[in-house]
Amino acid sequence: SDWLSPPSVRNMALRELASLEKYLGLRKPNKYSTQGDKKTPVLQNNAAPPLLGLVTIACHLVKEAKRPELLGDSAESRAVVQQWLEYRVTKVDNCSKEDIKIILKDLNLYLQDRVFLAGNCFTVADVLMYYGLHPLIVDLTVQEKEQFTNVSRWFDHIQHHPGVRHHLPPVAVLRNRIYTSRHH
């Protein structure tokens, strides 16, 4: 199973879930396996049938940690959180090089007047989108990070959110704009 392979090639989703567990303060780490070609994470649940998929497991962990506010504190924000969790696994994961720019452009526009994905409160959508976008953001040049300035601001905010970053290296985000003119 996936647990037997060395940590470097271990499924990213499993590392994410381990980090999420730590963030949520769950004492006893769960054991996961993967299923199928896409290595979908699977959580064996003692009392009930096994849970399948990153988003399903993440929501389960949030409930287990008794932090329901992380799934949204109103009907509307719960819907928004689910929408971004869906976006993460359908659009962000395994996106092509051309898609990256489209995703960042759309997200940049969306985050123009928001601190977090669900508005003013931090949710599990921010955590999973941060984990999912990390490999994209880490490759951006300073100029691109400035181009997608709202994404960068949000990303920097989340990576500094206590206990979120864990397995991921920090990404440098400049506070000042350095490409102010149209040229060079």
């Binding site: 040049t141 300073v142 440098a172 490409y179």
Partner: protein, 530 residues
Amino acid sequence: MTKEGVQGATEEQQAQSKKALKKQQKEAEKAARKAEKQAMVASEQQGADEDDFAKDRYGVAAMVQSQQKLDRVLVRVQDLSPEKADQLIWLRARIHTSRAKGKQCFLVLRQQQFNVQALVAVGDRASKQMVKFAANITKESIVDVEAVVRKVEQKIESCSQQDVELHIERIFVISQAEARLPLQLEDAVRPDGEGEEEGRATVNQDTRLDNRVIDLRTTTSQAIFRLQSGVCQLFRDTLTSKGFVEIQTPKIISAASEGGANVFTVSYFKTSAYLAQSPQLYKQMCICADFDKVFCVGPVFRAEDSNTHRHLTEFVGLDIEMAFNYHYHEVIESITDTMVQIFKGLRDNFQTEIQAVNKQFPSEPFKFLEPTLRLEYTEGVAMLREAGVEMGDEDDLSTPNEKLLGRLVKEKYDTDFYVLDKYPLAVRPFYTMPDPNNPKYSNSYDMFMRGEEILSGAQRVHDPELLTQRAVHHQIDLEKIKSYIDSFRFGAPPHGGGGIGLERVCMLYLGLHNVRQTSMFPRDPKRLTP
């Protein structure tokens, strides 16, 4: 057939004959018009032959073969101002544009970057035929014009001389241009992107360079190369006033000064020689020969097969070398002060040219500090790391990192010009003096304009023993550089210097994007003509 049917048929017949009649009539009219027109043309021609009272006031002049010395004073277009109002003057200019409108023909006459509106109108000085002749002169032809300067009520926005226009009394073609130009000057000065919106043509760089003679006539090119001439003059004036001596060095040399990878080989009688990739050796020999402070302006050759926006295979090097007393920062200060004098001179005396270029290629004004900002290499690396760049202490700067550092420096210190000092010894040539405090670094520096390198320099090793040691370390064949090392055996003062690329300085000062724009006849791996 029914009654109705018969009636219908006759109606049809009638209609047909009506149509035919109309057709006939039309044809007759047409013929009449044609005849009339022919008669008019004929009479006009007759008129042209017979009663053109202005016959002697226009035409194609005989080829100027220096038959006569005329006393005629040709006024310069830039001097046409309201003070000259109502004077009858002569001038020589090109036809920039012409537009005929009935009995009038408007011309824009251009001389270098200046232009003026001129008018030929039917009246007691010009005939119909003269106006027609003026309207038919091909664009870019050179004409001699006698005209009265007249003040205008409304400024002429499209011309450099906005307050006056010329009322032409005589016009002679001195040199006729071919009717079809390989590129239109208006297309060549259109700012990037502006043409696309209006569906107008722009000229790509290769077309410009293929037809450089015409491209150089644009206001932008005129301004660029006048400014470039200014850079050379300011460089010379500043250094001369600092006690420097201008030297001339050979460009055909027997051995490459920095290993042979990027030099051109030329056949030299029974052996081969190289084209100098810098006057390095000769500058240093002059220092050893007690010239104390020298500079040289001349071609420099690089056989690098790099096709980038900032590489040429031949460019003009502005080289400096000077002996100093105790510290090589004396050299840095001398060079940066020279650069600052150049920037100030351009800012104060070349505003017209800067603005002309800005019209086509907008950029922010060039900023610099006094005294010039000097950063150490380690500080630069620290700034880059803070911005997320991963690099080793002794790695050389990549071009993107160089540009990024320029941005960071601009943001922090608000300057487009700075010096990066104390480069890692490993990335510099063998003749670079090591740093006495940290042998991993060296007494060498680069200077940057808008984040791109324009000068590379260092304190040189003036001790033959250390020089030999460094050459061996770099695995250079000592036999090939024997004469170079021997120059330092008979007393050599401590010295340093650097070399600047003229084209790069102009490009970066003006905020342009391609060094070919500031090279009059650029040479690169793919271009050897014109």
